[in-house]
């Protein structure tokens, strides 16, 4: 999967789980401030991404992940 297709998939998941407008899901968007996601939203998102990309993400890897770009890099490094 190329990077663009992967980001589209990532974005679809994010829009669906966080119930936000697609144009808000930009690389520099912050989950908390810009996408209004709480901790449980993020857990749901991680689970959805794990399923969509057929990967597993360890809790420790999520530390410090605050932006869409950080999360996408983490996911695409495993996919």
């Amino acid at each position: 999967m190329d990077n663009e297709a992967a980001f589209d998939k990532f974005k679809t998941c994010t829009v669906e789980v966080l119930q936000v407008e697609p144009e808000k899901v930009t690389l520099d968007a912050r989950f908390g401030d810009d996408l209004d996601a709480d901790s449980l939203d993020l857990v749901e998102l991680v689970m959805a991404l794990e399923e969509a990309f057929n990967i597993t993400v360890d809790e420790s890897e999520l530390e410090g992940v605050e932006t869409v770009e950080q999360a996408f890099k983490l996911v695409s490094s495993k996919a």
Partner: protein, 238 residues
């Protein structure tokens, strides 16, 4: 109200079966899990699933069966429990661990499995069946009381975690109830138990079932993190 999908663990007898029957009377679709023997009843709309709550794969399989048949579980009653009574000095680690694994970790396993779809659908009810000994203690029941007290901490933590998604989590704490679990108690001990209960009798399983179905009802939408005693006054609110 549309019928809900209800799963009761340990539902082949006692409090679990009485609870399952009451949900059925309310028009819900009800599945029960059992470990060794399914409940009696031919042509029964009750969906009976063999599932040992100490096994994650059994738990996953039971949920998958319910989901396939009816869709996600909307009401979970974690009731499955075992006892291995004995005084601490004679209680080996196996007796301790077995009771913790079934009564407390088993509840964690089913709650964790149920919570995902509840969070996604923004509604759900979880009820943990604890015991009066959780907060009173019980000589000879260190393992059981510890596990049942653990359900209070588990329940209240989940109540906080899931509140923002409209999912309530509550605990029922029954006193002595006329079930197989109590049947092994000797006659003299039964008299002592009865004498300690202000209402002076043993409960029927249906009386505990009524508390559980209340907590799962739309009327209880504002009740979460509660410990509801159904104990004839034995614990006086604890």
């Amino acid at each position: 109200m549309s019928e809900r999908v209800v799963l009761v663990t340990g539902g082949s007898r006692g409090i679990g079966l009485a609870t399952a029957r009451r949900f059925q009377e309310l028009g819900d679709r009800v599945a029960v899990t059992y470990r060794s023997k399914p409940p009696d009843g031919e042509d029964d709309p009750l969906l009976c699933l063999r599932c040992d709550v100490t096994s994650q794969s059994d738990v996953d399989e039971a949920f998958a069966t319910v989901e396939e048949r009816w869709g996600p579980v909307e009401v979970l009653v974690a009731n499955a429990g075992v006892t291995r009574d004995g005084l601490l000095l004679r209680m080996n680690e196996q007796a301790w661990s077995e009771v913790l694994d079934a009564n407390l970790t088993g509840a964690y396993r089913v709650a964790r499995r149920a919570a995902g779809s509840m969070v996604r659908s923004r509604r759900g009810r979880i009820v943990f069946v604890s015991s009066v000994v959780a907060l009173l203690g019980g000589a000879g029941q260190a393992n059981y009381a510890a596990a049942k007290a653990g359900l209070v901490g588990l329940g209240r933590s989940l109540a906080r975690e899931l509140a923002s998604r409209g999912v309530t989590v509550n605990v029922v704490a029954p006193g002595p109830v006329a079930t197989d679990m109590l049947a092994s108690v000797s006659g003299d001990r039964m008299e002592e138990i009865r004498a300690a209960v202000p209402l002076g009798r043993i409960a029927a399983p249906e009386e505990v079932a009524a508390a559980i179905t209340y907590l799962a009802s739309p009327e209880a939408a504002f009740v979460t993190g509660a410990v509801l005693p159904v104990d004839g006054g034995l614990g006086m609110g604890h």
